[in-house]
Symmetry: C2
Subunit: 341 residues, 2 copies
């Protein structure tokens, strides 16, 4: 292993020459303790000394070694993020939001994948053990029991996307979102409505979906009895495509459709557009995925990036006595995919 050797002796061209705090102390004519204090903006350092130290550090091109600092202080200044998949629009928005806040706070962001239903297992062994001050759990990463166990093992955690009573959570009011969608369609005069429900094999009992459906039906019920035909399908564009075709093939197709996610809605839109002689069907989605803009899809906007920001802020703040349950505002974005009957 000659790798770690180049750290102290580099025979090659130009030297990285990482100085240590001792070098700075010598250069500034003070003790290492003072350097440490000065560089960390402690109040009990005279202005002149601080200046001298800062200048010396700059001159020597010095930067503190984070590992040494972490070891000595026990503070990792790092936040971990765990999600079942990293490539979904949702997850990457959360990551981006988290990263924004952490960067500004001078914290590091450690990323990991984990299968659903993570337990504290993931924070030990191969996980984030002693490497993070807190962890952000995106999506359906663990059940109540898993969250409770995390707390028990002393792991600071925040959930994004669903409610876990043991830890601070950030989610949207899915029920209300569903209601907004339904209310919009009802308001446009639709009286025959289709519902496309996406089901994830790995997690058939998604609370998000149930809540959205519930809110949606509430809206329909609130304004008389609007018949509704439900098509469960795969949680994918393909699924939405198939479901929409199914609806269009009905003897009496609905005049409007609510899909529980934008992805499903995209598939539905495509199926609809593909039929030359299709009836006019309004479509509403849920998410406000970037593609929704281009598709002209009316949808329920979910402030995902902001949720990521908030999650990071929660983790950076002092731990609240009790877990806080945040519910973010949802809003309907009306585009061209919906119109009155």
């Amino acid at each position: 292993m000659t790798k770690s050797q180049s750290r102290r002796s580099n025979e090659s061209g130009v030297p990285p020459e990482r100085g240590t705090i001792a070098d700075v102390a010598r250069e500034a004519g003070v003790s290492t303790a003072t350097v440490s204090r000065a560089l960390r903006q402690f109040p009990n350092v005279s202005g002149s000394t601080r200046d001298r130290v800062v200048r010396a550090a700059h001159r020597l091109n010095y930067l503190p070694n984070p590992n040494a600092a972490r070891l000595a202080s026990g503070d990792t200044r790092t936040i971990g993020l765990l999600a079942p998949v990293l490539t979904s629009w949702y997850t990457s928005e959360v990551v981006a939001g988290v990263e924004e806040v952490l960067t500004e706070a001078g914290r590091d962001l450690l990323i990991g994948t984990a299968n659903p239903l993570a337990s504290s297992q993931h924070f030990r062994g191969l996980g984030f053990h002693q490497r993070t001050d807190g962890v952000i759990l995106v999506d359906a990463l663990c059940e109540e029991e898993g969250a409770a166990e995390l707390v028990r093992s002393g792991v600071r955690a925040v959930a994004v996307g669903e409610h876990l009573s043991a830890i601070t959570s950030i989610k949207v009011d899915n029920r209300h979102g569903g209601f907004l969608a339904g209310d919009h369609l009802v308001g446009l005069g639709h009286t025959s409505i289709g519902l496309i429900v996406g089901i994830l094999e790995a997690r058939p009992e998604s609370p998000q979906t149930s809540e959205r459906v519930y809110g949606f039906t509430e809206a329909l019920r609130a304004s008389g009895h609007v018949p509704m035909v439900t098509v469960p399908t795969d949680l994918s564009m393909q699924g939405g495509f198939g479901a929409m075709n199914h609806l269009l093939d009905l003897p009496a197709p609905p005049s409007a459709v609510f899909a529980t996610t934008d992805e499903l809605a995209f598939g539905a839109c495509l199926a609809l557009r593909q039929r030359a002689s299709a009836p006019a069907v309004s479509i509403v989605g849920f998410d406000d995925h970037p593609v929704a803009v281009a598709m002209g899809l009316t949808t329920v906007h979910q402030p995902v990036r902001e949720m990521g920001r908030l999650a990071a802020r929660e983790l950076l703040a002092d731990e609240p006595a009790e877990p806080v349950q945040h519910e973010m505002e949802l809003s309907l974005v009306v585009r061209s995919s919906t119109s009155s009957v």
Copy 2:
């Protein structure tokens, strides 16, 4: 707080009790050095000793403190990843690929955003200074000069998406990809072709785009002189939408179109589908974005996740004497968006 209270009662919700290597040494009746060696699978440890140590560690629920290990060894066992945007399909695929490999190798993944044209600046100060053994640069993160500076400052780096001669890079043969697209259209008998070129404001001179265009024109030239009308536009779905409308409004619209990215192609498809009385226009994209499947878009497949995997592997492997320039295989995926004249 009674500290030395519980040592074996693990089931009853006992707090972490973070032991140190010394505790394990005592428990196993060996020295800390032996524990360190045994736990890291060193060959020069007798089987019986290793067993005893492993068992003791397990009994004490011990896990080494990574910061201490990092400080002592100078090895961070962490890889950093820097990208201009985290939310693009491309970036998140790379991240996912990198994460796969690093997880398996027991390495950590540190994530950061950076504006284009990063210099070594980003690896100092607020960046990854002394926290990573290497860095993956996604997309147009730095120019040749920046890469050279990185090398000079001793930062191990690998670029994904473009060629930087100073460091190991992983990219696709964009020229060939463009050729595949053009050849496909020509082969289908198209003789009047449109080209939609996306331009990113932050980086107008994208080499990827130029290469794709170049390869594309080569294919057209190779088979006689096929006229081509080029429409530069924003690198976005909206841009593709507008560009396609422009082409369709021409007195003699082309019978086929190549868009330099899938995103552009999606917009083009939408514009096309939106016109009830549009002529049949074949469309080819570039990327093989997941939405392309649903859209039925013929496109040039880019193995992005695999590129991420390779980048991680390169960083984990011993540093090559000379930077290696990897060029990944591209392939045309034919779907329903293209057909013969």
